[in-house]
């Protein structure tokens, strides 16, 4: 109320002049907007933020932003981010990608990033499809979705449950948002960045090209999780009743984030002594 707004950078400052290749109408647009708004809201200097991604439509995010970016290979965004944060604790490190990138080829890193609890914010834009490669089923695709020639009749497999897995694997901040509710998404990103530890935000982000029926998400989502649980078991209980469309911050734990160990410094020349005979 006291001219505070003066100190807030403009969200547009976090948007680059590279124009997205995304299909007009794609849910991912709202995500880059929300990321920019969150960074502006927190007043983070662009040069102190890094945005890491893999491959996929969703993974194109970094180029559309003016922070440091790393558009790596498919499925490996989390390890890149982990290395960066462990080596550069001073940076704010965000990770973004899709359901294919994060839960299919990148599934193992997801599990271990949740456990490792490095202070990262991981945003998965889930559209239950591989957008970039022309619409194949992803881990979160319904068993009977027959929109892909690669899985005629549907993948026939129970969908992957991102939040359950994240909780089981030990993530210390777990939330769900919808790209059609950018304000809530922005809030979650702010909270996730401020949370010290691994934060996972599951964003329902429709692919209007291969999953046009996802336009109906807006009628399905309901903002239910108003208060994050601080107890994992409680969060699990909530999740056991989930229909996949509740949004909000489900869980916020308090385990300390992983950091490099600090040890008294030793000169390299002093290390030589161990070899001397």
């Amino acid at each position: 109320m006291d001219g505070e707004s003066m100190t807030h950078p403009n969200p547009q400052d976090y948007r680059s002049d590279v124009k997205p290749v995304w299909c007009p109408g794609c849910g991912h647009f709202a995500v880059i907007t929300s990321v920019a708004r969150a960074l502006a809201e927190l007043g983070l200097a662009r040069e102190n933020v890094a945005l890491i991604s893999g491959i996929g439509c969703s993974s194109r995010l970094p180029a559309y932003s003016t922070v440091y970016g790393f558009h790596g290979v498919h499925g490996r965004a989390l390890p890149v981010a982990t290395g960066l944060k462990m080596a550069r604790q001073d940076l704010t490190v965000l990770v973004a990608g899709g359901d294919g990138d994060g839960f299919s080829i990148g599934g193992n890193h997801f599990l271990h990033a949740c456990r490792r609890n490095v202070d990262l914010t991981y945003i998965v834009m889930d559209n239950s499809v591989y957008g970039m490669t022309k619409g194949q089923a992803s881990p979160t695709t319904e068993a009977d979705w027959d929109g892909s020639k690669l899985t005629p009749g549907g993948p026939g497999i129970a969908p992957f449950q991102p939040l359950e897995i994240a909780l089981s694997a030990g993530a210390s901040f777990v939330a769900r948002a919808f790209s059609g509710q950018p304000a809530e998404l922005t809030r979650q990103i702010c909270e996730a960045i401020c949370h010290k530890g691994f934060s996972f935000i599951h964003v329902l982000s429709p692919c209007i090209t291969y999953r046009p029926e996802q336009r109906a998400y807006k009628d399905k989502v309901h903002q239910d999780w108003s208060q994050p649980a601080s107890d994992r078991t409680e969060a699990f209980r909530t999740l056991l009743e989930d229909d996949g469309f509740a949004t909000g911050i489900l869980f916020r734990g308090s385990e300390p984030a992983a950091k490099p160990v600090e040890r008294p410094r030793v000169a390299l020349s002093d290390m030589e002594t161990q070899f001397v005979v």
Binding site: K134, G180, C190
Partner: protein, 167 residues
Amino acid sequence: MDDLGTFLAHAVALEKESGERFDALADSLEVHHNPEVVELFRKMAHFSRLHLREVQDRAVGVVLPHLRPWEFSWPNAEAPETPSVEDTHYRMTAHHALLQALASERQGQAFYAGVAARTVNAQVKALATAFAAEEGEHVALLEATLSRFPPPPANWAEDPDPPNAPD
């Protein structure tokens, strides 16, 4: 909304986000070679920026609070005059674009009218009423324009070419 600063903060955000969104949509359609719609969206963005300046002018001397993105009292998920992303399509026509713009202006009008009806602050009421009237003019203008752009045939979205996988 009974505080003038808060109200103006809303008005500023409403126009700013509207302009930014129209520009973003224009960019997106430019990438997809839809010049007709691009031109329309750019125009809308331009108008939003003009209105933004007007609102900012009226706000001179008023201390605007900083509201965090989720602290705005919007009736819906986004600021009312922000055209929704999901209503765009790469083959959309001017007709669709106008409908989208119209929807956003109508929401804007409804928002201001709602504030005017509920606020106890006379200054806010006056301003909101004025803004609602302005939006009403825009609505009328767009409605008029829309009549010149009849709906395209039902299969407008149909594309004989398959999608591309740029990986």
